[in-house]
């Protein structure tokens, strides 16, 4: 077989080209004591990285692919999703390009990092699973995550997971899920980064209730017009909370918020994770066995 039509050589060349393209927008982030970490060029003066690698607010350094080093400041951070934005004084030459399509299980990917002066580093894998929502153990809830079998080398946190064309399908981090490596899907990461750029933090909705899942009998399911086997029984309503102000009572069973079913506490968290702060949302409940809809203006946690 000649080299010109050898598909293995074509694949190898394509992956090296993908690394080269993505490497132009992958930087070193020096913001913790021992191991440097990685970041991606998100906007002209903004670096997207993992929040857990930004251990200090001052004396943060970013090293660009050409080796030039610059000071950076924290423009926004969110422990719940483990994302942080750093602001540079100097415009970036190349920006990371997020993939337009969502990742698929089985897709070939490369995990990249620039943890030191040796240059870009890569490891090959495939998307092994797509999961979520998951509680991140840092008070947050990640709507979706990617797992891959690419090896997460030290300092890869904050670096990109790229497809065979060098577009970013995720941001790598070992700071969620007890040190296990996962990737935040690019669409979600870019959306969160957009909020971080505007507000400096992620606004998460707050209701102010304590709840536990309970079964909904078939008769009440038909009264609701929802085939939903469980809802959330309110066992506590904080005084002064948005829930109290809206008129929710202990004993109410929440079955849906803004039309989306709520069957367990994770779904309640997920319903408050979007851009809902300050918005009046219809909360569907069973009160004394009868369906009722109550408008609650969501607060900020």
């Amino acid at each position: 077989m000649s080299d010109a039509n050898n598909p293995l050589i074509a694949l190898s060349d394509a992956m090296a080209a993908a690394v080269e393209k993505a490497a132009a927008a992958a930087v070193t982030v020096n913001a913790r004591r021992r191991m440097p970490a990685s970041g991606v060029a998100y906007a002209a003066d903004l670096i997207l990285t993992a929040e857990h690698v930004v251990e200090r607010d001052d004396d943060i350094g970013v090293v660009l692919p050409d080796g030039s080093a610059f000071a950076a400041s924290v423009a926004g951070r969110d422990t719940g999703s483990d994302l942080a934005l750093l602001r540079l004084e100097r415009p970036l030459a190349a920006l990371a390009e997020p993939a337009s399509q969502a990742a698929r299980v089985g897709q070939m990917v490369l995990a990249l990092g620039r943890p030191g002066s040796e240059g870009i580093q890569a490891s090959l894998g495939i998307v092994s699973a797509i999961g979520g929502p998951v509680r991140t153990g840092r008070g947050g809830l990640l709507e979706q995550y990617l797992r891959t079998d690419a090896i997460p080398y030290p300092g890869f946190s904050g670096g990109p997971l790229v497809d065979a064309s060098g577009r970013v399908v995720g941001i790598n981090t070992s700071g969620l899920a007890r040190g296990a490596s996962l990737s935040i899907p690019a669409a979600l990461a870019w959306r969160l980064a957009d909020t971080l750029a505007k507000h400096g933090h992620i606004r998460r909705g707050f209701l102010g209730v304590r709840s536990q899942p309970v079964a909904i009998p078939p008769a009440q399911q038909s009264a609701l017009g929802r085939q939903q086997a469980s809802g959330l029984l309110l066992v506590g309503v904080e005084s002064g909370s948005p829930a109290e102000a809206g008129g929710l009572l202990v004993g109410d069973i929440i079955v849906a918020i803004a039309g989306q079913p709520v069957t367990d506490p994770d779904e309640l968290l997920a319903s408050l994770a979007g851009d809902v702060v300050g918005k009046p949302l219809p909360v569907e409940v069973l009160r004394g066995g009868q369906p009722a809809t109550i408008k609650v203006t969501i607060g900020e946690r």
Binding site: M1, D3, N6, P7, L8, I9, L11, S12, D13, M15, A16, A17, A18, V19, E20, A23, L110, E118, G119, I120, Q121, A122, S123, L124, A150, I151, Y153
Partner: protein
Amino acid sequence: MRSMDFAAALDDAMADMARRVQRCLVVVHDGQRGAGAGVVWRSGGYIVTNHHVVAYGRSSAHEGLQIILPDNRQLQARVLAQAPHYDLALLKVEADDLVPALLADSRGMRVGQMVFAVGHPWGQRGFVTAGVISGLGMAETENGHGPVPIIRSDVLLQPGNSGGSLVNASGGVLGVNTMIVGGDQGVAIPSHVVEAFVSQAIGER
């Protein structure tokens, strides 16, 4: 259908590459219990392996060293030259029908390109493992010879991979795998460094 054709052609290319590389790979027995891999580097019976494969556990550097060829022939080998700081050794066997490896220019390497490690991990002959070049850099060596250039890969190297080849998608040898340094990354000594060592060793004689 097009993707099926591509997958089949890719399989063929992989199998071609593996066959080509396995022909030039030998087993190096240290005469006791240790074994590693070796690469037929030049015609005339010149074989490159790791220094640590041949250096330990023997009273003399010329005693009991055995090579097993892909066709299972066993030959006595002697150590021509050693470079402990690169973890390299050059062996010579008396056979002129060994097929030398195709050498690739290790100076044109790119991070992300596909590589395959070929060796005998845990005694499994001619085992092929796939990955990519994960980094290019320098590593410090123990005995004060300064840093040496290395190829890092995400290929999992295990005992028995030592002295085997790291090849590119066309089966060209990019380097010789070693386990002296590297942490959780596989490390290989680039073939241009190996070639310089071999030329010098043969030229000096």
